[in-house]
């Protein structure tokens, strides 16, 4: 896995910038029921993202986003949603900027901020720990709602000083994880997950947060591109996530992310054992049957079908707020694995059959194959003249003999060098620093001397040195 991560960027690397590409195909999901899976501010983010990227759902999503924003307190998000809608659907009623709402909400927000800060000050003067903690919590929630993420994070962090029960540790961390997920601050998420894990006391308590922790941690690994770790986290998620992480990630996402990461990083046996036969993950997998199908196809060596299933969901995944950045890379990893598996029993395969079986529509495999061979994923050679991919024939005997000779030569060289070094030190003529100035002069003298005598070096056989 590590080698895959450090591999050179492939020609089909994901385009990183949000909104840098447009999804034209209609997705398979229904927007209403999709957004039902989420709660809180992530709904707004997801709607805006879909609105910007999808030509098919754009207007509808942005309309929802505007409505969603107006129900909340975040003026900046409202601007964002409304501005996008203004460009793609100016005739919609929601596309008109509601100035009175903005004024009203901004005044309310300011008043609320002031009130909560005053209150907190009061609590601090009274030195009642519990009140200070709750004051901070209210303030954090308020800042979060109006979109002041750094301030919200700070306020929630301050809660930690006044904690008195382990339940509160979990609360604090959940707040922080929420904000951090929106900021994409994955390091903070990981550290908070660890804090919760160490604070958990009973098994009952553990059971209630375990799915949440694993889902969030998986997401953190996933978004930094550590697919193997992400797969591990997602696969360990116990059933019962339901809406507990709905502000960040839905159970469907766990199935999709976990399944794709596993497909991209695990071999056939692991997939069978750890994904399909994994009872806790199965509850998630049932929600996204196409992932389950893709994995079964892979295990049964029907690589083309596996890739077709994934390809047909590409549009959906491109509209996911986290998945879209990674989907190309993950698909490429999966495709690479399929090719490697497919190629194992053959000594040569025509490039045409590879192209028809594996290449994404309208593309050829050549570049990807070259990249895979260069990375060492695929032990084969391309024959462009006859259009074949040929497996490499190794002659173990010759390899061994060559290796033996090389080792002997290395030994000779090394031993010789060490003997020489010993005699140099016996003669006491190492390069030493006390005589440095002296030695430097001698060096310079040598070069003047040589330069003069050799006339700039032996310009023999058309070479100059």
């Amino acid at each position: 896995m590590a080698s895959l991560q450090s591999a050179p960027s492939s020609p089909t690397q994901p385009r990183n910038k949000k909104g840098g590409f447009i999804v034209a195909e209609p997705p398979k999901f229904d927007l209403e029921s999709y957004i039902q899976n989420y709660q809180g501010r992530t709904r707004l983010d997801r709607l805006i993202y879909i609105g910007v990227c999808s030509t098919f759902l754009g207007v509808e999503a942005l309309k929802l986003a505007v409505r969603e924003a107006k129900a909340g307190k975040d003026i900046r998000k409202y601007f964002e949603a409304q501005a996008h809608l203004e460009t793609i659907g100016p005739e919609e009623p929601e596309a008109v900027r509601d100035k009175s709402w903005i004024d009203r909400v901004s005044k309310q927000n300011d008043a609320e901020t002031k009130r909560l800060e005053e209150e907190l000050k009061g609590y601090k003067n009274n030195l009642v720990k519990e009140s200070i903690r709750m004051g901070n919590e209210d303030l954090g929630k308020h800042y979060h709602a109006i979109g002041e993420l750094p301030k919200a994070f700070e306020a929630f962090s301050r809660m930690r000083q006044d904690i008195s029960a382990s339940k509160q540790i979990i609360d604090v961390s959940r707040h922080l994880i929420n904000v951090a997920a929106e900021q994409k601050n994955w390091i903070a998420i990981n550290s908070n997950v660890q804090k919760v894990k160490s604070a958990i006391a009973g098994t009952a308590e553990e059971a209630s947060v375990q799915p949440y922790l694993h889902a969030v941690q998986g997401l953190a690994h996933f978004d930094v591109g550590d697919y193997s770790e992400a797969a591990n986290s997602f696969l360990w998620t116990e059933p019962g996530l339901a809406q507990s992480a709905a502000t960040i990630i839905s159970p469907n996402d766990v199935a999709v992310y976990g399944g794709l990461c596993a497909l991209a990083t695990m071999d056939r046996n692991q997939l069978q054992r750890r994904v399909l036969e994994n009872s806790s993950f199965r509850t998630y997998l049932e929600m996204e049957p196409q992932i389950r199908r893709a994995i079964s196809f892979f295990i049964n060596s029907r690589y083309t079908n596996c890739l077709q299933v994934l390809e047909s969901y590409r549009a959906d995944y491109l509209l996911d707020i986290y998945l879209h950045r990674h989907i190309d890379e993950i698909y490429q990893l999966i495709r690479g694995k399929c090719i490697v598996q497919y190629f194992i029993p053959f000594s040569s395969v025509t490039l045409a059959s590879l192209n028809s079986g594996f290449a994404p529509l309208g593309k050829t495999m050549d570049k990807e194959l070259i990249a895979m061979i260069q990375r060492g994923d695929l032990d084969a050679r391309i024959n462009t003249v006859d259009g074949l991919l040929e497996s490499r024939k190794v002659d173990p005997r010759a390899e061994l003999q060559r290796e033996a000779l090389r080792m002997a030569e290395d030994y000779e060289k090394e031993a010789g060098r060490r003997i020489l070094h010993m005699h140099i030190s016996m003669a006491g003529i190492e390069v030493k620093s006390p005589k440095r100035s002296h030695g430097g002069q001698a060096d310079a003298a040598f070069f003047q001397d040589e330069g003069h005598r050799l006339g700039g070096g032996p310009g023999n056989r058309g070479l100059q040195y």
Binding site: Q374, D386, E409, G457
Partner: protein, 494 residues
Amino acid sequence: MDDILPKLLNFPQHPPPPNPLSDQQYDEGIRAQISVVKNIPNSKLLQPTSGGENVLDIINPSVNSVPYTFILIANIEAAQRNDKNIDQENLWNSIIAFLAQFDPRQMRYMQTELSQILDIFSNMARRHHQIPTAIPHIRDALLRFEPTGTLLTPKHLLLVKLALEAKQFDDVLPVIDKTILYIPGAGHRPRQKYLCNICLPPAAYITVQTGFVAKPLKHLEVLEYFLLSGQVYIGLKKWKRASECLEVAVTYPTKDSGPSKVMTEAYKKWILVRLLMDGKMPVLPKVTSPGAAKVLKVLGKPYETVAQIFEQGTASRLKSELEAGRDLWTTDCNMGLVMCVMAAYQQFQIKNLANVHTKLTMVDIHNLTQSAEIGSKLPNAAAVETLVQSMIADGTLHATLSHPPNQSPVLTFSPNGPLLTEKQTQAALAASSTRIKALTEEIKTTDRMLMYEKEYVNYAKKMKKNAAAGLEHGVGVNDMDFLGEDEDLMGSLY
């Protein structure tokens, strides 16, 4: 003259005695002979025989090396005084005859004189522009005197310098091809009882006291030898040996100090040579002194950049980098190597294609590779074909070229590179094991020599004392951690 001839030819006995002399008898005989001949005044040595012949023409240098040497030196000194009786050309020929025929066993007792003759000979060669003729004679003399060639002497350096002056490289290969293992020691070593013992390792009969090496070698001379022999190999485009020589210079031990300037020069050349060899940025060998390595890295930065671009960059970048550094390469006298690097870029590109492809048309190769010399693709596929043909011909590319009718020529890479036949492999393995066995002997020799080093003796004394003290106090020697700081000189070899 005739009266002293018997004295001169007194030793070794002629005809040889039925039982060869023991080392002791030989030693006594030759020492006596030397002291006798030394006491004969030069004027007498210079007299011709009664028949008017030059004595040098009568004495056989391979049998009577001692008197021949003294007479030769007398002649040379006379020639330096511009004595009219000395024929320069005759003298030159006599020296050549001597260098080709002297008896190395006898010359062990005449090392100062041998060294003197070699110096004079090379000076004469320089003066008369005869260096090319002189080089083979000096080379043969060196190998005649010390056949293993593993001991570095100032004459080695002299020889390499002559070769570079005359730009005549092939002739010195027999000497510089040998791996240098020994440096003549400064002392401490027990005197060998009999120099004539033919089993002695070279480091035992050539030391600073025995005269062939007039004064201890300095680090600069050692480094210089390796840098210059590296240059000889570069001149011959023998990259492998060149890199080995330069590597010795680069890894030369330093003590609390940065590298010498020679080491940096060697490092720069080493990078380029290794680039020509494997097409990759080389990694400094582990034995490089850490202090030196840091400084080398800094000073060799421009060269390392070139290596990186060579490995990963495009032809046009390499070309502009090499052109930007033109002044630097010229100052460092590395322009020639840099040109080679430029030319090698496309060759390595083509070679690397074998890591991905088995068969390619010329048109493909033309499209996939670029020439660093012009910073872009070659003008046409035919030019690529010429390049590929030359690479196959000189053995750098293991592939075959075929011309299918009406198509671009096709290059087929051979999958496993060059294959040795079973016999060749056997021979190579046998040769290698012989060399390693010989090396094991050298290791033993070195070990013995280390035993007489002052440091080791002190260490051994300390060990003994500790062992005694340890027994008294009931502590084993191994319990004493402070012993760990003593250097483990041979341990890392095994």
